[in-house]
């Protein structure tokens, strides 16, 4: 990379290459939620459940805000779902996104959601897509990778660090037992998680943000044709666990782990 004066670099990012970011937002039950099912264990019981921005998406959104503030990126957020998900999109606007899009169809499976999102990525000319590594409800972990493949963009999963200079991206991804740093280029799709920003960087919307969010555009778009490839037919809760066996000494503990549980 050439060393430019700071002013020239700003000129480059602002006028030659403009980052247009789409952050995919899942509308999920708060992490403290107790999970129950209804209609003969075929539907998730939403009654009494508080919904939030999927935590993995929120880390990505916060990184996107950094690109907006420091590098002049525009940031749009998107969700596939019914009108009940709009408060979650408004929260993303209150955090600082410029515009929101809702694809008006239920999020049936990862594949159909990825198809809807990939269509918008192409139509809107986004060159950076940030989604969470997985949603904390169905833990599918497939939408970011599918968007990348459907749009032909580069892909970095489990991303815990992202720097962009012009159209060059340096990304760090978590791997089993360590991390790996990669160099790639935009257009790029990222599956983000904690680490792409720190927990302490997350923003609680302030009053000004909340007021502004009310007037920011939230566009509702009708879905394209996209068949689901998978269908959940039933849910079950884990079998109740027996009571804990309390022990008084480490000898007893070692004995039980060795002879009863057979794990040491």
């Amino acid at each position: 990379m050439y060393i430019h004066s700071k002013g020239y670099r700003n000129f480059q990012t602002k006028n030659i290459f403009k980052m247009k970011i789409l952050v995919c937002i899942s509308h999920v039950p708060d992490t403290t939620s107790k999970i129950n099912f209804t209609e003969g264990d075929t539907k998730f019981e939403t009654n009494g459940v508080q919904f939030v921005i999927n935590p993995n998406d929120e880390f990505g959104l916060t990184r996107a805000m950094w690109f907006k503030e420091k590098q002049g990126a525009t940031v749009h957020v998107i969700n596939v779902g019914g009108p009940e998900t709009e408060p979650t999109l408004r929260k993303a606007l209150a955090i600082g996104a410029d515009e929101a899009i809702r694809i008006n169809t239920p999020a049936t499976d990862g594949f159909s959601v990825a198809k809807q999102l990939a269509h918008i990525v192409k139509e809107g000319g986004y060159n950076l897509v940030i989604a969470g590594r997985e949603s904390i409800d169905y833990n599918g972990g497939m939408v970011p990778g599918m968007i990348a493949k459907l749009t032909g963009n580069n892909f970095v999963n489990t991303c815990i660090g992202l720097e962009i200079e012009g159209d060059v991206a340096t990304a760090t991804r978590e791997i089993d037992g360590g991390k790996e740093t990669l160099k790639t280029s935009l257009p790029l799709v990222v599956g983000g998680q904690k680490g792409i920003v720190e927990e302490s960087d997350l923003r609680i919307p302030n009053m000004r943000g909340i007021m502004q969010a009310r007037t920011k555009p939230l566009t509702v778009k009708e879905p394209i044709d996209a068949n689901a490839e998978t269908k959940t037919v039933s849910f079950a809760k884990p079998a109740p666990k027996g009571p804990v066996k309390l022990v008084d000494s480490v000898d007893e503990l070692i004995n039980l782990l060795h002879n009863e549980a057979k794990v040491i």
Binding site: Y138, M142, G178, T181, K194, E229, T230, F235, I264
Partner: protein, 322 residues
């Protein structure tokens, strides 16, 4: 028709998760009346795969694929799947598998279900049980596409020996320049430590340990047991331990044989993340800590007294039993 399984290796050595994946693939193949083909990248010796039920191994030997590369690996697996007319592709829950799965799903027009915990309850229609809501529940999901991809949850099926006579074939996939678009600048892996992903035992510390300076005894305990170290969310948020050690709903999931929680109260998000572990032990001075409701074994008391004793007694135990 066949079942194709991706068998992961590290430094040329087949990983344990790969053997579990082959065991599972053999289970599906038996249900469907077909056989298992494994695909391996730069593994030194794949004979072991036959022990768990693989009839054929496609061996790729290519210096360009020494390091994991999502695009190229997915391309290779896609070509193998087509050559073998694979109807089911078996992956694991490793970081690499989770990277590959969505790409393969698009390439092969295949429906994908991750975190699968059992053999399919039926193979036509193809229905599998998998964990959802970060182990707070299970779902049974039907895959309607011709080709199916399943990612099995770690430690959910186990290793099942099934001695099979195995043929090895070298396989050279057609890779193009696009497969190498991404440049790996550096890989940073602790080689002297067990990773949470691969660990049979995980020792985890929480806020009850009062400060990062007290982690020595956690590391001692982990070392004695050959375990990985982990921590709760507040501990990683406060910077006492690295993010990579954070286990729980927004951190890493743990599915070890034994999970030992020390000074961790057991918030619902933490318990969800470690719930897939087989045996859970809690050491906490607060008998009302929610973790006691989720654990199999518990000790109420001061971790600063119990843990050093435990390390000492375990060393004696190990000396006697080895």
């Amino acid at each position: 028709m066949s079942v194709l399984v991706y068998t992961e290796s590290e430094e040329g050595k087949i990983k344990k998760v790969a053997l579990e994946a082959v065991s599972y693939a053999k289970g599906i193949a038996d249900q469907m009346g077909t056989s298992v083909t494994a695909i391996s990248f730069n593994a030194n010796d794949t004979s072991e795969l036959g022990k768990y039920g693989a009839s054929k191994v496609l061996e790729i030997s290519d210096d360009k694929l020494k390091k994991f590369n999502g695009e190229a690996y997915a391309d290779a697996i896609t070509q193998a799947a087509k050559n073998e007319s694979a109807k089911v592709i078996v992956l694991t829950s490793s970081a690499n598998s989770k990277y590959l799965a969505p790409t393969l799903a698009i390439d092969l027009n295949a429906g994908y279900v991750p975190n699968v915990v059992e053999l399919p309850e039926s193979s036509s229609p193809f229905k599998v049980k998998h964990s959802v809501f970060t182990n707070k529940a299970f779902a049974v999901t039907e895959i309607s596409t011709d080709i199916k991809i399943v990612g099995i949850g770690k430690n959910s099926y186990g290793l099942k020996e099934n001695e099979t006579s195995v043929t090895k074939e070298s396989f050279a996939p057609n890779l193009d320049a696009h497969d190498f678009d991404m440049e790996i600048l550096s890989v940073d892996k602790a080689t002297d430590q067990v990773s949470i992903a691969d660990a049979e035992i995980v020792v985890s510390g929480g806020r009850g340990l009062k400060g990062p300076e007290n982690w020595g005894m956690i590391e001692d305990l982990a070392k004695t047991l050959g375990a990985a170290t982990a921590c709760s969310k507040p501990v990683s948020d406060m910077g006492w331990r690295p993010h990579a050690e954070h286990v729980g709903q927004t951190g890493k999931p743990v599915a070890s044989n034994l999970y030992i929680a020390i000074g961790i109260s057991g918030a619902i998000q933490h318990l969800a993340g470690i719930n897939a572990s087989k045996v859970k032990v809690v050491i906490n001075n607060d008998p009302e800590a929610p973790f006691f409701k989720a654990a199999d074994y518990g000790m109420v008391g001061d971790a600063f007294e119990i843990v050093p004793q435990l390390v000492e007694k375990l060393k004696e135990f190990k000396a006697q039993n080895n």
